[in-house]
Amino acid sequence: MCFKRLWAILRARNLEFFRDRSAFGWNFIFPFLLVAGFGIIFGGKTYTEYKIGVFPAKSEPVSIAALDIPPRFKEMNHLKFIGFPDAARGLEKLKHHRIDFLLKTGQGPHQYWVSDASPKGYVVEQMFRASLIPPENEPNAEKKEIQGSAIRYIDWLFPGILAMNMMFSALWGVGYVVVRYRKNGVLKRLKVTPLSAIEYIAAQAISRIFLLMFTLVIVWTGCDLIFSFDVQGTYLDLFLVFFLGSLSLTSLGLVLASRGTSEEFTTGILNFISWPMMFLSEVWFSLEGAPQWVKTFATIFPLTHMLTAARKVMHDGAGLIQISPEIMVLSMMTLGFLALGAALFSWNK
């Protein structure tokens, strides 16, 4: 291993990344836009919203105070009331699942419509019927509060979006770029110099990890200024988790880059790997309640372990001891991918 050669390729690759302004900008803007978008949509109180059609009403936006419906139903959270001039208009919307429940205003006996095919409709129906029970007849149930501060949805989502961005950047930034270089002859030109495959691969990996961590710090800082994320653990542990995660994802990118010559085929392979990884690694939703085989299958992805560890540090204040299983798995995956990538690597078409 000659560090002068490795440094030359590393420098050249970094210059390429920073000078390709469109790709460079997109690496920062994309995760920021996603976080900002989800923050705006889900950041408020109305995360789960049930839509209730009411008629007759003069206009679509209705004044809840003026509605002649059971008062306890009006006061319930997560309901949005939409006015319709008559039943026919409301039924049309209900039929197409544009609203979850249709209620005729006025004093009882109350009339409502709900689609048997709508789970949300069923929930609203139960809420409506419960609101009609006089307080003195309510069943005896005690509400308990969650200990500690609640985790906002944006706090849960943010590490997922960052990790997903890292995954795409690692897989495409290494896998696709190296295949393109093999196809257009850059690797062939490098092959006839004393540069070794391991020096080239190492430079690609280091360059990508540097860029991933650089992007992470910039995006995290930018988003934190807006959303004020709550990190229970230490930033150092969190950084270590993301660093190891980016290492394993970049190594996986090197495996994908080791042989391909067709950009189209490589695109297919990258999609084949990245999409299941995105959906099964709990970037967007939890796999709680999913079949056991799905949960087991998800553990083959480095993203799953990176996210589990990141959320443990961020939300539960976990330290290195608590996340040691994920650190072990990510380290093993990195070594395995690196060994495989180096063994399979070919300069030629």
Binding site: K4, W7, A8, R11, A12, Y181, G185, V186, K188, P194
Partner: protein, 294 residues
């Protein structure tokens, strides 16, 4: 004297095609050796096997009397027929990057002067003209002060002026004592630059020697060419054989003086006449029955 490079019975199959079929040659220090042949003759495959870009099916390659070792890549310079380079780097940065790969290197200023890179040194490497690009690729091939230089079709795609400039540049490199192998399908290029030429066809070397010797051995006679409408003898019985080729007539002769005397004697207007000496093109034509650029 030991050869700097020796190739023995080189074979390369791309099933079912035999791209290189038993090629052998040896190269002395300081010689410019040309592989000449039409497209698809196997020239590029031959030198890419020698360069260690692709593996041979069979055959042996010796560099300085021994199989190629790690020093081979340190000591050879290579210019591919077409190549892409690392994106978003200037010409200067690309030279610096490649310079870092080698132990023994030439100063960049020296290469800039030799290959006349000054006017586009700080432009991105993909934003330069064809002629500038070829000079730049040649500079890249010279960055490690190579003992052996491979040039694959160095002037393909260049306009005549740019080609002539490149030839001058290669002549200068040759004058500095470098050993070179170049492939080309331009016979003028081979004739102008090469000390020794091997003509390839269908993966084999069909003939090898100095350009002058090959012409002497395989292409005798001079060709007198004139427009067909000028060839109007006043009387019948012109004594030399005349071939019509498109709008011209061609007269092959071993004695130009006698041919011209006959033309004048038959009252033929010589205003648009040209006299063509034998060249490598005619050697190839005589040996294969085909033009080099067919």
């Amino acid at each position: 004297m030991e050869s700097i490079l020796e190739v023995k019975n080189l074979v390369k199959h791309y099933r079912p095609v035999v791209a290189v079929d038993g090629v052998s040659f040896a190269l002395q220090q300081g010689v410019c050796f040309g592989l000449l042949g039409p497209n698809g003759a196997g020239k590029t495959t031959t030198i890419e096997v020698i360069e260690d870009v692709i593996l041979p099916t069979a055959g042996e390659i010796f560099y300085k009397g021994a199989p190629r070792g790690p020093s081979f890549r340190e000591e050879v310079g290579i210019q591919f027929q077409s190549t892409a380079l690392l994106n978003f780097l200037t010409v200067r940065e690309t030279l610096q990057t490649f310079k870092s790969f080698f132990t023994q290197t030439a100063p960049i200023e020296e290469l800039v002067e030799l290959c006349r890179l000054g006017e586009f040194l700080d432009q991105y490497n993909d934003k330069i003209s064809g002629g500038q690009r070829q000079r730049f690729l040649l500079a890249l091939a010279l960055i490690n002060r190579p003992e052996l230089l491979f040039l694959d079709e160095p002037s393909t795609g260049l306009d005549p002026q740019a080609r002539r400039n490149l030839w001058d540049l290669i002549q200068n490199i040759k004058a500095a004592g470098k050993t070179m192998i170049l492939t080309t399908h331009y016979m003028e290029e081979a004739q102008f630059l090469c000390d020794e030429v091997a003509i390839m066809d269908y993966g084999k070397i069909i003939v090898q020697g100095t350009p002058e010797a090959l012409i002497r051995q395989h292409s005798s006679g001079t060709t007198v060419v004139m427009p067909r409408d000028r060839f109007t003898p006043k009387t019948d019985g012109f004594p030399l054989p005349v071939n019509t080729v498109k709008n011209n007539v061609e007269i092959k002769t071993d004695d130009v003086n006698q041919c011209l005397e006959q033309l004048i004697a038959f009252g033929i207007d010589l205003s648009d006449m040209t006299v063509r000496s034998p060249n490598l093109e005619s050697v190839f034509l005589n040996l294969t029955g085909r033009q080099l650029r067919e």
